[in-house]
């Protein structure tokens, strides 16, 4: 595992506890994470699952670090596409820094060195959409309006 290759930073007018809950609770994630529900007890070593609306598993992995409301790290394995299923898992880490009444949320994604660049495109394109939706939801009570990402 090399240093994080995909890093995205956003600042959210919310409490760290609210951002933590928005990242870890399925009730929240289904509103901004392409309808997906995140589920785990978030204990170190526990499994986590990102469920698609039709009940299929999108991604899953194990919790590596859990220090609410500051840092959450997990292995990340994409399950729903055959091509991705045989790849070694990546690592995704959320870092929350409280700065006054604002939280700086940093998402870092690392991959095994053997991973081809094309498999990193989903994270590079996806995290900004997901985290912008999370920020909108926490600050205004509404997620981003639905749009076609490939537009």
């Amino acid at each position: 595992m090399t240093k994080p290759e995909t890093v995205y930073v956003t600042y959210i007018a919310a409490k760290p506890e609210q951002v933590w809950q928005a990242l870890t609770s399925g009730e929240f994630t289904k509103q901004y994470f392409f309808g997906r529900r995140m589920e785990s007890d978030w204990k170190v070593g526990s499994p986590w699952t990102l469920w698609m609306e039709d009940g299929r598993v999108d991604c899953q992995g194990k919790v590596l670090e859990s220090d609410p409301p500051r840092r959450l790290s997990m292995t990340w394995h994409v399950e729903w596409m055959e091509e991705f299923r045989r790849l070694p898992p990546g690592v995704v880490t959320f870092q929350l820094d409280a700065l006054g009444d604002v939280v700086r949320l940093t998402v870092m994604e690392s991959h095994h060195e053997s991973i081809d660049e094309k498999y990193k495109e989903g994270g590079r394109r996806g995290w900004p959409v997901i985290l912008c939706g999370l920020k909108s939801l926490l600050e205004t009570g509404r997620p981003l309006p639905p749009f076609d990402m490939s537009a």
Binding site: V102, R104, P128, S136, T140, P145, D148, A151
Partner: protein
């Protein structure tokens, strides 16, 4: 060594026209850019002045002005002696409307900010890389909720 290019994408529930105004009007920039007024007549070749509390901190020249899609200008810090000696870099804003399914409420845009053309060993690059995400997050907050982020997050 990593390439000295800052690249950031943000999605904002607004219209291209409103976002364009927010990028080019000093009244707006002062609100989300933590007090910074960005002043220009926005003709290609005209100068751009960054003014904080009356003092000019950075200068630039308009390179592209195509409302409400493309804006670019050079960026040259002039307060700090060491940064002043560095040649200007370039910042570009690209605005893309994203068709919402629930228009007119459902409008969203993708804003891509690219800041590049830095000399090797640039002293300016680490500063702008650390600065942009807070500014662009505050811009999103202002356009969506009417309130920018507080300066405490800088």
């Amino acid at each position: 060594m990593d390439k000295l290019e800052f690249f950031y994408v943000t999605y904002i529930a607004t219209t291209p026209e409103k976002l364009w105004t927010a990028l080019t009007s000093a009244e707006f920039t002062r609100q989300y850019w933590f007090g910074m007024a960005i002043e220009s007549d926005w003709r290609v070749g005209s100068s751009v002045l960054y003014r904080q509390e009356g003092e000019i901190t950075d200068r630039g020249t308009v390179l592209t002005f195509e409302p409400p899609r493309l804006l670019s200008y050079t960026f040259h810090p002039v307060l700090d002696e060491e940064m002043r000696r560095e040649r200007p870099s370039r910042v570009s804003f690209e605005i893309e409307p994203l068709g919402g399914k629930t228009e007119p409420q459902g409008q969203a845009v993708r804003l891509t900010v690219t800041h590049d053309d830095f000399p090797p060993e640039s002293k300016v690059f680490p500063r702008i890389r650390a600065g942009w995400p807070a500014i662009l997050s505050s811009l999103k907050s202002l356009l969506e909720g009417g309130k920018p982020l507080s300066a405490a997050c800088r």
